[in-house]
């Protein structure tokens, strides 16, 4: 017998989701059928829920072909200055569903990032996983050995969970008020969420943090810029890149010294690198050492001066300072003033690069171009798939296509 319920479509669920809101507005809606007339208008609107931030909703209703000139600089600036946090927590494996304790958090990494400035600060700490449930020692050890290789016991660097969480909260959210968005990869989200809750329980700190996925963030930024939704595969391939695996100043000290690839901090930093390399360049941001590990590519190679001038000109035009956008600029300035004066919890490093980027565009560009090799044109394979979306005339060359 066919399942009648299968006939429910996306619109049905859309309407169902809207019902509470309609009721709040005082409309008499008992069931989905009643609500339909009120929802049709909303349904027509383009959806950009992933970011869940009113300030970033695409205001335009029509999908025009991506034309950079027609975009307001305001929204660009807002995006560029917006601050995101990338968070990851590693565990000693995952225990089976019947166990009360599903994960054993052992390492945490967090990065403060904006498209404009790159990585602003990072936070890293090892966590004391606590007592390993009886009988699961081998399971946990095997899981650890196959990835981050953090010892499951007798590891001196592990801090207790309450302290780590407190430090993390101080890093992300030093002042009362609304919490900034925190992102992690969708595959890691259940684990990170569980660990945060678990650590909060242990330390009796309220868990206020809302964890969003990086994939949605990338989709959101892309949509914001080009009013088009990128494909999931494209987003995934953008984030899953091996080239920075061994870059210096990416892993935490311990993982770097022991030459182990899996590091919670490195995961966060690599997200930042990927986004910088493929998205920030679309905005015409000149990549700095805070965006990608440039210092590893110090081969001097000549670049045709013509192109430099061209790029620099456009770059400077873009760099008109604008603080018009309420949400982003306020948050970024607030953060900025804070980091300057605040005391930092342990594990937090503030990037020294964040001010060196300001200055004359052309000199900076020349410097950075000569410092980065022209040979790295293969920097990102996403480039090829990106080009159809952006018209050639916009000319904001990405880091990788400079050669």
């Amino acid at each position: 017998m066919p399942n009648r319920k299968a006939s429910r479509n996306a619109y049905y669920f859309f309407v169902q989701e809207k019902i509470p809101e309609l009721r709040r507005r005082g409309l008499p809606v008992a069931r989905v059928a009643d609500a339909i007339p009120y929802c049709s208008a909303d349904w027509a609107k383009p959806v950009s829920t992933p970011l869940r931030r009113p300030g970033m909703l695409v205001s335009k209703q029509s999908f025009s072909p991506p034309d950079i000139s027609s975009l307001s600089l305001d929204s660009d600036q807002a995006l560029l200055g917006g601050i995101f946090y990338f968070l990851n927590i590693f565990s000693h494996g995952e225990l089976p569903p019947h166990c009360e304790q599903r994960f054993l958090p052992c390492e945490i990494g967090c990065v403060k990032y904006s498209l404009q400035e790159g990585i602003l600060a990072d936070f890293h700490s090892f966590i004391n996983p606590g007592e390993i449930p009886r009988g699961f020692r081998f399971h946990c050890q095997a899981a650890s050995d196959s990835s981050h290789k953090i010892p499951i016991s007798n590891f001196e660097s592990g801090h207790d969970q309450a302290t780590v969480l407190q430090n993390l909260y101080r890093f992300i959210h030093p002042n009362p008020g609304s919490w900034p968005p925190v992102y992690c990869k969708s595959d890691d989200r259940p684990r990170v969420n569980w660990c945060l809750k678990h650590m909060a329980k242990a330390s009796e700190i309220r868990h206020d943090l809302e964890l969003l996925t990086v994939e949605d963030l990338v989709v959101g930024i892309y949509q914001e810029k080009f009013l088009k939704e990128p494909s999931k595969t494209w987003v995934r391939s953008l984030l899953d890149v091996a080239m920075w695996d061994y870059s210096s100043n990416t892993r935490c000290k311990w993982h770097e010294e022991n030459d182990i690839l899996f590091c919670a901090l490195a995961v966060c930093k690599k997200i930042a690198y990927c986004i910088s390399n493929s998205l920030a360049t679309l905005f015409g941001i000149q990549l700095t050492e805070a965006h990608v590990p440039l210092q590893d590519y110090k081969a001097s190679n000549s670049v045709t001066p013509k192109m430099v001038v061209l790029d620099a000109g456009r770059y400077q035009k873009l760099r008109v300072e604008n603080a018009g956008f309420p949400h982003f600029s306020s948050s970024s300035q607030g953060q900025g003033s804070n980091t300057a004066t605040g005391d930092y919890p342990s594990g937090v490093k503030i990037s020294g690069q964040n001010n060196s980027v300001r200055g004359r565009g052309i000199t900076r560009l020349l410097e950075s171009i000569s410092s980065c090799s022209s040979n790295i044109h293969k920097f990102s394979t996403c480039e090829t798939s990106l080009t159809p979306y952006m018209s050639q005339k916009d000319g904001y060359k990405s880091f990788s296509s400079l050669s």
Binding site: H98, G135, D240, Y246, Y297, H377, K378, T381
Partner: protein
Amino acid sequence: MSGRARVRARGIACRPSTPEIGRTQASPSPASVDVSDKDTPSSSGYMGTSRISQKMVFLGDSDSTQKDKDGVSSGDVGCTFLGRGGRIRREFMDLGACTREKLAHVRDCKTGSSGIPVKLVTNLFNLDLPQDWQLYQYYVTYIPDLESRRLRIALLYSHSELFNKAKVFDGAILFLLEKLEEKVTELSSETQRGETVKIVITLTRELPSSSPVCFQVFSIIFKKILKKLSMYQIGRNYYNPSEPVEIPQYKLTLWPGYSVSVSQFESSLLFSADVCYKVLRSETVLEFMTDLYHKTGLSSFTQACEKELLGLIVLTRYNNKTYRIDDIDWSVRPTHTFQKRDGAEISYVDYYKQQYDITLSDLNQPVLVSLLKSKRNDNTEARIAHLIPELCFLTGLTSQAISDFQLMKALAEVTHLSPLGRQQRLARLADDIQRNKDARFELETWGLHFGCQMSLTGRIVPLEKILMQDQVFCQPMSAADWSKDVRTCKILSAPSLNKWLIICNNRAEHVNESFLNCLRRVGSSMGFNVDYPKMIKVQEDPAAFLRAIQQHVDADVQLVMCILSSNQKSYYDSIKKYMSSDCPVPSQCVLTRTLNKQGMMMSVATKIAMQMTCKLGGELWAVEIPLKSLMVVGIDVCKDALNKEMAVVGFVASINTRITRWYSRCILQRTTTNVADCLKVLMIGALNKWYQYNHGLPARIIVYRDGVGDGQLKTLIEYEVPQLLSSVAESSSNTSSKLSVIVVRKKCVPRFFMEMNRTLQNPPLGTVVDSEATRPDWYDFYLISQVAHQGTVNPTYYNVIYDNNGLKPDHMQRLTFKLCHLYYNWSGLIRIPAPCQYAHKLTFLVAQSIHKEPSLELANSLFYL
């Protein structure tokens, strides 16, 4: 680690079922190229360990722990075979798939006729049954209901009605050879406590001897018989601890054993047996711990202990069961007590004294903790068993032992039985079964007659000529290896290598010069033009290699060669990962060690040159294939090494009529089973490629599917074949290509020996068996396409599950044999068709090193060789 060992390890990594030791060793495994691209340098040692020990992981009946013996009644029906609901074992599930009746052209006859007939002896024995043999299945209920299986069995068996009858009972389902008078029989008994229990026996089924359920009953009967021959069941096999083979210099003990099964073959019911060994260490965990204590001292003892012992498989001799050490509880002593199932408190010391009459000597030892696998697949909490180190024997080999060449050689001398040695062991088993009074009695009560060893006639198909450039046919000196013949001939086609890089560390400099000269020399004689590369010297760490690649690879670079000084997996993985997805350029990794072998330089260079040619999209040789417009496809599926939830599906299809160029793709999918659900994308991709090159679609497509586990045949027929069919149908509007799907299995029950000069030998290359040892419901055949220098050759089993090509069985067999010649990483025959081996190599690379889909830009070359 030698190439062969790697290949073996490879087999493990991808197949869920592990070959027992002594079963697989046919020698020139295809990919055993010692020189070049190493596959899993460091992990292979680990996997090697699991090769021996994997079988021992929790195959035992987990009903019994030391803590309670109550649950198990040892002499009776194992519920491992038949669950309460009469669950069918996985091999038997495959028998339900009757594919042959749908294939009109083989319904009447599936045997070929070409080739020279050859008389073969098998490891199969006739098992005769009376014509009207039938089995009666009853369902037994107790009023009031009883939980204890042991009690249920005891009560039923005490009844005189059933006393002398042939019966099998697992606590709920009863099988009888003779029918009871009534359809429903009611009996009543009294327990020791004086309760009266009513037993109701209801007839549920009458089973003919061809029913799969009967095979399970036969298995149970043979389990009883082998027990009577004082063999112990460990896992699925039966071992004889009373005749151990000791290898004292390595503290190893081998238990000889057999794996047996009963099944319906082409024309009769056959009993099959094969020889296997269980590797044990003649060392208890306690002895191991004491040793370790003397080495490390007190301070780091517990840590060292956990590091060494966790994850090892131990065997407890008192019940011959295996356990994995999951944890060590340092706080519990043998003098501590635990609660038995009936609630009584007892100390470990007393328990072992009472239960097994074992006196523990060390009362201060800690206990080992093992998680018991829940038999039901629900999420109930796992049970824990405490084991006493003194009573636990280590099993399997450490990675250290596996890399010990002498040790492995000593082991191989025992386990790799020659055909004659194997035959002698089989004959002894048959003899024992027939002579032992109890065993014979058991057989007789069931009306079975254990017959003689079966021999049959196979055919040797003609050997193939290897086709090189300018229509030079070369009939190799040895069909198994034509590497020498190939050196003088020009290969079919090779792009010239103009711009390429060699990245090496500073120390490797001196070898490079001579190697490069050698490479250019062999290259030119093969017709492969190699220009001087750009040399880049870097420091010795993966980051430096990766950085050098990133800096120097540009659009014109055709190939990157990395000369690595150690076979650390991280180097290889990071290079392969970057070069196959981020920056798709063919890459070749070579170990400094291989280049240092001065005497071997020529053959090393030849092999590397051949691999490089393939990676650039060249073709080495061909065989004559009369079918025009034929596309052959190989599919393999295995699990990702890091993320067990991901399955890696490799798909390799030929894209020219000569079957020398290949289109290779790999897709990762999230599943728990090894069934592919992305075949449509892959197949359509391959057909498009074919169209590009040939301006038409192939008339015939033959798909070889490897990596199929027991019990998956039906899923394959119902799920994968339709995917292939629909993609073929969609790709053309008028006449669609004909399709055949063949399941390739490297592990199969039968073995064949050839009688010659009054002794037994391995059958020669090209031996085909398509009668007697095959199954009546399938269109299947066995093919021997490899030479075993050591031990007994293992035939490869082919099962055609779908075929509308209508090729004669003869042609299908010949074609399969021809395809075994086309694997370019080995200049010789291999045991499975080349596309399968390519697919396997690809999935292995992705599962072990890359963990993501390789770039499509590489799909036209064999970049993974």
